[in-house]
Symmetry: C2
Subunit: 146 residues, 2 copies
């Protein structure tokens, strides 16, 4: 299975908030840039808020980013929006036969390797920050004035 589009939508949201920081960023506005339902945006904003990455203003509306962009990594965002993340990247078949010498040892053979693969992926996610993507975006926007 694929990692939920909540992840790329969240990055999109951050880019919008930072790019249009002079305007009021409502879920309606974000929904129109991402082209999804505003409720999806609100749910994701809620997860990002819970993770301490954004502040959302109830009633008056608007969202802001809580930290400098270079202090927010892809891993922070991934962990904020991937709800099942606690179960790990790999889905293990849970009940191998304990009376089979192979079945009863599958976990001890595989767990460490699978965790290592997950760790490598998360290290990679941790190495990328929103500042990196914003820099690329600004470069493009310089040549792409509307």
């Amino acid at each position: 299975m694929q990692i939920s589009s909540r992840f790329t939508i969240a990055i999109h949201i951050f880019c919008c908030i930072d790019t249009f920081k002079n305007e009021k960023i409502t879920s309606e506005f974000l929904a129109s840039s991402v082209q999804v339902n505003p409720v999806i945006i609100r749910k994701i904003l809620g997860q990002l808020k819970k993770a301490g990455l954004v502040q959302v203003h109830r009633g008056s509306g608007g969202a802001e980013i809580s930290k400098p962009l270079d202090k927010i990594t892809f891993l922070d965002i991934y962990k904020a929006v991937e709800c099942v993340e606690s179960k790990g990247l790999f889905h293990f078949h849970e009940n191998p036969n304990p009376t089979c010498p192979v079945g009863r040892n599958m976990h001890s053979i595989l767990d460490e390797r699978l965790e290592h693969i997950q760790q490598v992926m998360e290290d990679e996610l941790a190495s990328m920050t929103l500042a990196d993507v914003k820099k690329d975006l600004d470069k493009i926007l310089g040549n792409d004035r509307t």
Copy 2:
């Protein structure tokens, strides 16, 4: 979302076939070690066969591994059983608004980075072979005689 248990089941299957290579390995036998339905085993064996990793004998029954264990990597198995793999690890929201300067550029900003993360994970999968896990299993079985 998580990577399907087909992946760990497939590794389990290889371990069984190799460990019990003196016996006839039927889908029934494998199903009892993994503790899933035999049809699930047959489907996975079908995928592994299509990838050229095993041979399955129709009618008479039995399965064999097609290559030396150190020539079969986790990545080979992952690609064989992860049907959606062609779509990539990350699910992109497909229709960002082309009239928004941020929306219209999300793909060019993110694609390369997401592909890189996926590549790093696949490289890691490619670095592990069935020979590695079989070695660990044999070590355990030496101390775990039944």
